[in-house]
């Protein structure tokens, strides 16, 4: 074991003496985490508000009241424009929709409920149907709230009652009995508007027409707390891939340079040499993991749900890819051929396994394919320890898969190495 450790120390020194290796092993994964962390930095946050254009062609007191209602909603960001410009902004995707208040919008109940010539129009982006539906709800809410405010105005109500009385008198289709019922109701309404004191009048209308109680909810977080909890598992995988590829290349480099032969001639077995490579790969990967962990905690304040499980996940993932390294190192006789074949295989694994793009943005069929990539299991194990709240039992599954892959590839690698030697 002592000789395996000596070999490992030598390997680490040789690997770290190359600046290119240092970048691929240490620099690239951190850059990766930062880049994708920045891209996904909006994930998990509250929406910042839907941007809409408002066109007030009515310019009445009621339309002004209505627009001020819309402006008061946090979930909307309004901008006042002319009709053509508003529609153009929708077309160009600058705003989600344009709300158009036509002349006559403030003309009372008649204007509000006129089906033949609606005074409120919405020009919505066809690609944002969900937002359009959401907006219609908010517009209805604003309309009811504005009307509720209007009902508190006795003079406006009296004018409305006079107007309705004239309408009933003019309506020839109504029978005398029916007209009498309406006129009696309007008289009672007049009496109410005359006699009720201000306090009761306002109290009866408080809260508006559409009352929805807000229940205080403390949201329970199920997903990652920060985008770096998604990107750091990927960065850790990239660090391991970088180490793996570097060590695979170092094995074939030793074989091509003759140092592997010199070691084989020495009084140490093949097992010693391979164990040395494995230990060096494991140690370097672990060192990189530690640096990433410290960076994630200290700089990005990334919470880690279960550090012990993270260590277990890291150990199994490193073993998996150390086994893979053994296999890759036998795929060619030159550095170029091994580097080419190794990186090609690692890239495919990374693409399928969510090492480049998180699995949750992939289509379902691609997610099914990801089961065949060790990268997926590595990331899954890391996520389990970082934000998925895995129990130890839940962690056993991905770890067993990783170890099984490790044993398979290591055995294949040793078999092929023996075959090429003799």
């Amino acid at each position: 074991m002592n000789k395996a450790l000596l070999l490992a120390v030598k390997d680490v020194r040789v690997i770290l003496s190359d600046k290119g290796n240092i970048f691929w092993v240490f620099g690239f994964p951190v850059l990766f985490a930062l880049f994708f962390g920045a891209i996904f930095s909006g994930v998990g946050r509250e929406p910042s508000g839907m941007k809409i254009a408002v066109v007030d062609e009515d310019e009445s007191e009621f339309s002004g009241l209505y627009v001020s209602r819309l402006q008061s909603y946090e979930s909307l960001k309004t901008v006042s424009l002319e009709r053509e410009e508003a529609i153009d902004q929708v077309r160009r995707g600058k705003v989600a929709a344009a709300v158009l208040l036509k002349p006559g919008f403030g003309g009372g109940f008649g204007a509000v409920f006129d089906k033949d010539d609606p005074k409120l129009e919405i020009a919505a982006d066809p690609a944002r149907k969900m937002e359009s539906g959401y907006l219609q709800g908010l517009l209805a809410k604003a309309q009811f709230e504005a009307l509720g405010e209007r009902f508190g105005d006795r003079d406006w109500m009296r004018d409305q009652v006079d107007s309705w009385r004239k309408d009933v008198a003019a309506a020839t289709a109504l029978g005398d009995k029916q007209a009498s019922l309406f006129l009696n109701f309007f008289d009672s309404l007049d009496t109410l508007l005359e006699d009720v004191n201000d306090e009761n009048f306002q109290a009866g209308l408080e809260g508006g027409i559409l009352n929805v109680a807000n229940v205080e909810v403390h949201r329970q977080r199920e997903g990652p707390a920060t985008p770096f909890q998604i990107t750091f598992p990927q960065a850790m995988i990239w660090a391991i891939l970088g180490c793996t590829a570097t060590f695979a290349i170092s094995i074939v480099k030793e074989r091509a340079n003759g140092t592997f032969q010199r070691l084989r001639i020495g009084p140490l077995g093949r097992a010693h040499i391979l164990a040395g490579k494995g230990v060096a790969c494991f140690a370097t990967c672990s060192l990189v993991m530690c640096i990433q962990w410290i960076g994630a905690k200290a700089i990005f304040r990334m919470p880690i749900d279960n550090p012990l499980l993270l260590i277990l996940a890291a150990a199994c993932t490193i073993l998996c890819f150390a086994g893979f390294m053994m296999f890759v190192s036998t795929l060619g006789r030159t550095e170029q051929s091994v580097a080419g074949a190794g990186w090609a295989m690692l890239m495919i694994m990374a693409m399928l396994g969510g090492g480049m793009i998180p699995l949750f943005v992939m289509p379902p069929w691609l997610r099914s394919l990801s089961h065949f990539s060790p990268v997926k299991w590595g990331i899954y194990a890391f996520e389990g320890a970082i934000w998925r709240h895995f129990t130890f039992i839940e962690m056993v599954g991905p770890c067993l898969v990783l170890l099984a892959i490790a044993i398979t590839f290591f055995s294949l690698g040793v078999f092929m190495l023996r075959r090429t030697e003799l």
């Binding site: 020194r13 040789v14 340079n257 003759g258 032969q261 001639i265 020495g266 009084p267 003799l422």
Partner: protein
Amino acid sequence: MIKVENLQKSYGKVVALAGISFEVNRAETFGLLGPNGAGKTTTINILCGLLKPDGGMVSLDGKTDPTLAAVRTSLGVVPQTLAIYEELSAIDNLNFFGRMYGLSGERLKERVTKCIEIAGLEQRHRDRVSKYSGGMKRRLNLVCSLLHDPPLLLFDEPTVGVDPQTRNLIFQTIEEMKSEGRTIIYTTHYMEEAQRLCDRVAILDAGKILDMDSVDNLISKHGGPTHVEAEFEQEPGDTDEIVRRVEGTNVRVQERLIRFETTQPMESLASLNKIGQRFRSLKVNRANLEDVFLNLTGRRLRD
């Protein structure tokens, strides 16, 4: 010390060794001389346990398994190609390989110092090997194999592509090792090297040993006659007498010049001297291993 019996090895349909046998005595320097592809490196690789033979056996100091740690500790192999870490310094390389062979503490320090001295790298031993010249790398490559002070040394064409200075250093090192009583197997396709360094030489071609003996005996057996060309101080009067005195063939006398082929050049010249002939100049072209190889195979070593 080393015994090889009916050693066979093939790579697919290519026969590398077709049943070779030889023995090397303790403190002897034994040469394997042959062109590229003759089977020299295959023999070395089998002797140090890197390759398994298809047939036959090797015995190193009575042990038939070269992969045993005890056997490998007694072996020092100088490979044909550079087998050192260019990313490390000379001293780091030596320390690393020394530890691999179980050296530590004072003994390791002592051996590393000695090897740096042999390689002539005292001034540069802390520099990265990648910054060394080709010759310096070769010298380091050589001493990495001597580090553990092995009694048996296998040199696999150690002078291929080296500069004259490094070649001389390698020769001096081997001669020093020889004088210390180490057993050496030296493979080469340079006949001058075999002639200079080896006590006995096996002529290897296409996986077969064509003959094996001391250099002198091989030349005597297969080298052909020595060509002598001499110039007398004065033109001889009786040329017939001169021809009679020479123990050789193709004797031609032309004015003051005489040319002949003989297996005993010194005796013939002494005989002419006895009848009063004085020489102004002498040119003796003795047969060498190149001639031996040519006569045995019909080809030159470097063909």
